[in-house]
């Protein structure tokens, strides 16, 4: 953890014991667990997740549907337990330190003050995240006035300024439009304007471009990158698209079955991945930047149910190398993250030499 700020901002740390002192990183998540009791059993959406993130850096969280990536982001924002019935719905444990404050044990009113001001979120579907009855301007003004004691006029000027900043043409007219009068890309821009209106220091973007076309996606990714440079916020980008993370992230965290199975600097995760699931993701993807592959190399089977997560390594039923480690250990013991390189961690029972050999000899040549 010594050269944490140097090598990569969103450096990773091992899960820390919970009574350790307040961290120095801007955002630190320690052993986060989000469980939902249901009629069918306990859904362990996130089951022990730890990471840190510095200001000005971007962390990409990748995983398939049901891997717990969105639940993590809502957990950080404190949205699972918000509201009257929140406590009954979700069981959350662990620690989330934002700029020296622990959020899970903090007073809900205090978290509420931070939400929107210190940390903001961009949602996947802007149409359902924007209120259809209010104009874009009213919604941005509301977000601004909650945290700033200003009159409506000033707030509206600020809204126009933000709309202009995110590239909406004629912002002074558009500010009075309703969400349905905007196209998909413009709605997403308006959402971004709304989340940035208070200059948050942590921005969580949950699948910000999944609902958009590629050309618009490129615009939005560009915008997020520029705004981050300008405001110096810490950004968490959650997506299933490895292309998007590769574009934006300094560090990557791969989730599977509610746990982190690999994390490290983007370059390492793409060029020296050390977990069979990461290999599988890379092999499943047709790529425009390479010559045509004959066949894709899919991961067999389907993602696990979060109620019955396979014992041992959650990935073992789908892993082609599940029998490499001896004594059936993959099916009985859950692997913990271990360091496989500088700031690079993976949770796999195979020895590092085995994984290095398989990656360089069997997987990498086929990609």
């Amino acid at each position: 953890m010594t050269d944490l700020s140097k090598s990569s901002g969103a450096a990773m740390t091992e899960p820390v014991v919970s009574d350790s002192p307040a961290p120095t990183a801007f955002l630190e998540v320690r052993d986060l667990k989000v469980h939902f009791p249901t009629d069918d059993g306990l859904v362990k959406s996130v089951d022990g997740l730890s990471f840190t993130l510095e200001k000005g850096k971007t962390l990409g969280i990748v995983g398939e549907s049901g891997s717990g990536k969105s639940v993590t982001s809502l957990g950080i924002m404190g949205l699972h337990t918000a509201g009257q019935y929140g406590k009954r719905k979700a069981r959350i444990s662990g620690e989330i330190w934002l700029d020296g404050t622990e959020l899970l044990s903090a007073d809900p009113d205090h978290v509420r003050k931070l939400r929107g001001r210190e940390m903001a979120m961009i949602f996947q579907d802007p149409l359902s995240a924007l209120h259809p009855y209010y104009t874009i301007g009213q919604q941005i003004v509301e977000a601004y006035r909650i945290h700033h004691d200003v009159d409506k006029k000033t707030a509206k000027r600020r809204a126009v300024e933000m709309l202009d900043r995110v590239g909406i043409p004629q912002p002074d007219k558009r500010v009075d439009n309703y969400p349905h009068e905007f196209s998909g890309g413009m709605r997403q821009r308006a959402m971004i304007a709304m989340s940035l209106v208070n200059n948050p220091e942590l921005l969580i973007a949950d699948e910000p471009t999944t609902a958009l076309d590629v050309t618009v996606q490129a615009q939005i990714l560009d915008l997020i990158r520029d705004l981050q440079k300008e405001f110096g916020s810490a950004v968490i980008i959650i997506t299933h698209d490895l292309g998007v993370v590769a574009e934006l992230s300094d560090d990557i965290l791969v989730m599977y079955g509610g746990r982190c199975i690999e994390r490290g600097p983007a370059e390492k995760v793409f060029y020296e991945p050390r977990h069979p699931y990461t290999w599988g993701l890379l092999g499943s993807m047709p790529r425009l930047d390479r010559d045509q592959q004959e066949r894709l190399i899919p991961v067999k089977g389907s993602p696990p149910s979060l109620i019955n997560i396979p014992s041992g390594c959650a990935f073992n039923p789908r892993c082609p190398y599940a029998d490499v480690p001896k004594d059936n250990v993959t099916r009985t013991v859950r692997p913990e993250l271990s360091e496989v390189g500088s700031q690079h961690w993976a949770a796999c029972h195979m020895t590092q030499e085995e994984r290095e050999r398989i990656w360089t000899e069997e997987i990498a040549p086929k990609l």
Partner: protein, 428 residues
């Protein structure tokens, strides 16, 4: 719950026995069209959805979803259709399967005009043309078992397969890599990828000649996507199917297609072989579309100079721009583009393009060099990345040899400012 079935799916030997039978059966059916010959021909196809208003529901306009397209599909090939949402690709798929009635134009299947066939006239045709739908959740009836769903085509067509419907359905299940014992299960008992396999089995039930797949993998997770893409690939090889695959994901389309049509606002702007299209796209839109795809390679991030960023949104198909429809967002647009619609012509063998000033080819209107003043202002020249970055990028992509040369000059190109005057939100 049915992990085993999914496991089988990936290994082809497990399904080869069923598939071999299928191939044999396909051969006995009359194959009127030899591989490589035209199976489906579309000329001047149009679909305008009327917009009605007022008490009398008078037509006040039309959404020109598909506005005059021509192409053909050859037996045994895969035609990929790409474009952004609202470009009319799905409508096109529904027109060629005759789920929608065309406004104008002609659809010929195996040389027979099927444009205006009625329900009963189409019925025998339905055996030969099948569809795979995007959403595996809404395209399967939740109250029917898998057996009923896959067996329905036999019932509707009055076909009695050899050995009975049940046996045939079970064979189909094993062909698509599902467990035949799941015959009596309901759709909700399957995962997304498995449901998509069920949809595929249903489409294959009657040994179709042409399968139209509308976004067959976009609702699936990455790892499952690859399974389904490989399955479609295997089935094509084993059963000699012809595919029209509609998708928005350019990397998936490149992976599955032999030829690719790029659509923009109801028109085909470029139609070419996969290799030519991806190595040397001619239409500026194709080029912009491909450069917008995020590349899963962190080392290429710095080589931002390769990206062409289109400004604004796709104009509304209710009042598409005059002349070339792309001129409002095109950095090469000139006077002629605003007035005259470029025809789709073959500029290189196997590469048709509709553009006055194509990339990687001779300019079609060289005398018309005056840039629209607005466009000229909008074109920004951005400093190109360092030589090292470019070298790295070039190394990574052999495909982009000619491209980089072009991209060095004009980079962050943007649209004619006019597009902002145009009501961008007319889609509502």
């Amino acid at each position: 719950m049915s992990e085993n079935a999914e496991d089988n799916a990936v290994s082809i030997p497990a399904q080869s026995d069923g598939a071999a039978k299928g191939a044999a059966k396909g051969a006995t059916l009359t194959k009127d069209v030899a591989p490589g010959e035209t199976l489906l021909k579309v000329t001047g196809l149009q679909k305008h959805f009327p917009i009605r208003k007022g008490l009398l529901q008078r037509q006040v306009g039309a959404v020109r979803a598909v506005d005059g397209i021509d192409f053909e599909v050859r037996a045994g090939e895969t035609l990929g259709v790409v474009g952004e949402s609202g470009c009319g690709k799905s409508t096109m798929g529904r027109l060629i399967t005759r789920l929608l009635e065309p406004t104008a134009g002609k659809v010929e299947f195996e040389g027979r005009d099927i444009t205006h066939l009625g329900v009963s006239g189409m019925r025998p045709m339905r055996r030969d043309v099948q569809m795979i739908f995007q959403d595996p959740y809404s395209s399967l009836n939740p109250r029917h078992t898998i057996g009923t769903i896959i067996g329905a085509p036999f019932k509707l067509q009055g076909v009695e397969p050899e050995g009975g419907v049940k046996k045939e359905v079970q064979r189909l299940l094993s062909v698509v890599g599902l467990n035949p014992e799941h015959y009596n299960r309901y759709p909700h008992e399957f995962s997304g990828g498995q449901r998509q396999r069920i949809g595929i089995a249903r489409a294959l039930a009657l040994n179709p000649k042409l399968v139209v797949a509308d976004e067959p993998v976009s609702a699936l997770d990455v790892s499952i996507q690859a399974q389904v893409v490989n399955l479609l690939d295997d089935l094509q090889q084993e059963l000699g199917l012809t595919y029209v695959i509609i998708a928005h994901d350019l990397s998936v389309v490149r992976h599955v297609s032999d030829r690719i049509a790029v659509m923009y606002l109801g028109k085909i702007v470029e139609l070419a072989d996969r290799e030519s299209l991806y190595k040397a796209p001619m239409h500026p839109y194709t080029k912009a579309l491909m450069s917008a795809v995020p590349i899963p390679d962190p080392r290429r991030r710095s080589a931002k100079s390769e990206r062409i960023l289109l400004k604004g949104d796709v104009p509304s198909p209710i009042a598409p721009p005059s002349g070339c429809r792309f001129h409002t967002r095109c950095w090469k647009a000139t006077e002629i583009c605003t007035k005259q619609e470029p025809p789709l012509i073959e500029l290189k063998p196997g590469q048709q393009v509709a553009c006055h000033h194509p990339e990687n080819a001779e300019d079609q209107a060289p005398q018309d060099t005056v840039l629209l003043s607005a466009a000229k202002e909008a074109v920004e020249l951005v400093a190109v990345g360092t030589a090292a970055e470019l070298a790295a990028a070039e190394k990574a992509s052999e495909a982009a040899v000619e491209e980089t040369a072009v991209e060095e000059t004009a980079v962050e190109k943007s649209a004619v400012e006019k597009s902002s005057d145009r009501p961008e939100s007319t889609d509502k």
